[in-house]
Structures are given as C-alpha cells and as structure tokens.
Symmetry: C2
Subunit: 208 residues, 2 copies
DNA sequence: CCTGCCATCAGCCGATTGGTCGATGCCGCC
DNA sequence: GGCGGCATCGACCAATCGGCTGATGGCAGG
C-alpha cells in the first residue's frame, strides 16, 4: 500500500520540524510539503494533493478555519486533521463545521497521532477525548442558551470593568452569588473567562 | 440666606435615608425630594427646581449620565453633584462631560460633602482627589489614543478567552511582554481590566 | 406533590491578573 | 546624534478570579 502523503501547516518552524521528523522516522507516511499560514496551505494543497493536511489553528496571515473552509469549498479530496495546542479554543466547533476530519491536541502521544492520520486518510473521524466531550454536550443542548435577566445585568457590569466585589455591592448580593452567575454565563456562552464572555455577548448582540 | 434645596437621587433606599438624615440635622440645607432612577430624577428636578442634585451613577432604569445629559439639555438651572461608590467608574469622565458640577465618593467625610454641596450651589467645581488626578492625566494626553498593531493582536486573543500565558506561547514572546502590552491597552482605552478592554474595543469598532 | 429552574450564599483553593518598578534594543525623525 | 515610540523582558506582590462542592428557598409547570 502506498504511503499516506501529508502536508504540514503550522506557523511555528519548530513544530513543523518536529512533525516532519516524526513522520520521517515512520513507515507508511510521506511529508510532501509544509506551509506557515492558511493561504500557503490552500495553495500547496491544491498543487500537492496530499491525503491528509495537518493543520494548526490560529496562525498569522490566514487562520486555519478559513483555510479549511476554502479547501472544502474547492472540493479538494484531502482530509484535514486539526492539530492545536489548546482544547479551549473557541475555534474548535467552527473548525469541525468547516470540514475538519479530526481534531487532536499537540500533546497527544505520537502513536495516537499516527493512528489519527491513518484514520483521517480513510475518512474516519478522530477527536481527542476533550473535544469529543464538548461536541456531545453541544449536541445535547440544541444551541441558543439564553441568559437570564440577572445574568445579563451582571454581564453588562462586567463589560464596564466592574469587579465581582463591586458588582455584589451594586446589586446588593454577595460576591459568591456573582461568581455563581458568572459560572453559569461562561457555560452558556461556551467561554472560560469574563473577557471572552464580553466578546461573545457583543458577537451575539446581547450588548449594544 | 435661604436654605440650599437638594434633590437626592440613588437607587438604594438606605443611601437615600442616610443622606436625608445628614442634611436634616444640618442648618442651611433642605431636601426637597428623592428619586430612585434617572427618569424620576429628571421629572422631579423639573418640578422641584432644586439648587443641587445629588446623583448616583449606575442605577437601574435610567442611568445617571443620561439623566445629567437630559438635565443640561433642558437647561435646568440646577447643579449636579455626582456621588458614587467607586472612583474606578468608566462613567467618571462621561458624567463630567455631560455637565456634572462635581464628583465625590460616598466615603467622603460629611463635612466634605456639605462643603461640596455649598460649592456646587454656587457653581464651583469640586472633585475628589482621585478624580481630579485622573482628569489632569486625561488632559495631558489629548485623546484618541490608537492601539498599535501588536496591541490589537493581543486584544483579539484576549477577546477569545486566551490567557496571558497562552498568548505568550502563541506569539512567541514572554508573559511579561504580554502584560506590558495589556497595561498599555488599559491606559489607552481608559479601562482597568481585560473584560472592559474587550467591551471598549467593540464599542469603538476595533473588533468585528 | 414533585421536579426543574432561578437566585441566593459559603468556603476553600490554585491560577491568573494587574500594578509597579526598572531595563534593553530597534527604528524613524528632526 | 539624541529623542520618542514600540516591542521586548524580569521580578515581585497583592488582589482578583475561576473551579469545586454543596446547600437553601421561591416559584412555575406538569
């Protein structure tokens, strides 16, 4: 059986070298190219027609999600395996929606990575456990979690730079309660801190 | 000389009672009314024509800044003395721009409060030291601070919920540098934490 | 009546943040 | 050649934040 051809896309040379080295020392794979951003990735994928694209998200000059979207739009037959550093990315879901075949964390053991690439080449979906869990919970809750009036009130104050203690004083409740509300807000907006919550609120037009 | 007539505006009954009590026990002042939000404040000020309006910012149902704007728009002769809990409000400058005559913190000693009301009645400006300092620094920097490319880059990541450590890794710089950039961002946007910075960025259309 | 949602609160913990010094190197501009 | 803006880093410290576990009361809907 022919080798699986791989295109490596990452803005960090170190990571590219590391990946290239790993595949070089393993039978069954062949790295056919490297790209440092989304635009290069699309161009190279078009020319080299790799079986699998190993794609980092978050790159300067053409993000990963856009690149994936573009690849699927052009109908290229290659499979995209997202390989990222953090599982907390808000890009996780968009990347999968854009057409990524799998999603792995960079700290995955090498064997796991090889398995994932083989799986991707065959079109099978491979997700890291953390991502899988998030996807499941996402499906279980059919979107559009809306904030309660109280939660919105608190979020507005957060957007003004008000601290938890100040919010508590302002609303005549305890700091513990404020934190509870915030935890709920984070869960509903699928973010992990107040800054991202504010951004999400603006994106969804919950704030002017 | 006639008493100075005062209108108290605060959403907290406790605060209203406290203020009313203080003025009741002091010669030279007369509390002519109370309001619990901005709209009531404007209506009462129109009817009662007080010399001085003691105004809290941040109230449910008609914020203080809007009320001040409305009062000046209607050309009412009353002076507005802002009386608030925190000097960290992002509302500080807007309130003064809207036409507030003075700005005091609620923890000011009573004598200071009385002096401030007398001063306001005569049209003299009284600012708490902290506010005065901020105003000065504001004047020294003639506005419209724009963010550098690097700062914007960091702010974008912050809006995604990225931690300082993660930003550092992503951009190949140290965490110290990220913090330095953030400090600059806070100063330029006149906010004090990342959540407010994100909000300010959206307000000023620095982010999509 | 019971169940679920909402709002409220407590206490503990580690991680993160923001503040404040100071310092360096690069670059463009006058 | 100096000056200012920008980006970079370090170290230390207090405050804040977020996560976790668990609990209570009110109120609506089944």
């Amino acid at each position: 059986m022919a080798d699986i051809t791989v295109l490596i896309v990452d803005d960090h040379p170190v990571v590219r070298d590391g990946l290239r080295g790993m595949f070089a020392g393993t039978a069954g794979f062949r790295v056919v190219g490297e790209a440092a951003d989304g635009r290069q990735a699309v161009a190279l994928a078009e020319r080299l027609r790799p079986d699998v694209v190993l794609m980092d998200l978050r790159m300067p000059g053409g993000g990963g999600v856009e690149a994936i979207t573009e690849l699927t739009r052009r109908g290229l037959p290659c499979k995209v395996l997202v390989l990222t550093t953090y599982d907390t990315d808000t890009d996780t879901i968009p990347a999968i929606e854009a057409g990524a075949t799998g999603y792995l964390l960079k700290d995955a053991p090498r064997d796991e990575l090889f398995d994932a690439v083989r799986a991707a080449a065959e079109g099978r979906t491979v997700l890291s456990p953390a991502i899988a869990a998030r996807l499941v919970s996402r499906v279980r809750e059919p979107r559009s979690e809306s904030l309660t009036a109280r939660e919105l009130e608190i979020l507005r104050l957060v957007a003004r730079g008000t601290s938890n203690r100040e919010i508590a004083a302002e609303l005549f409740i305890s700091e513990a309660t404020v934190k509870t509300h915030l935890t709920h807000i984070y869960a509903k907006l699928d973010v992990k801190d107040r800054a991202a919550a504010v951004a999400a609120a603006y994106e969804r037009h919950l704030l002017p």
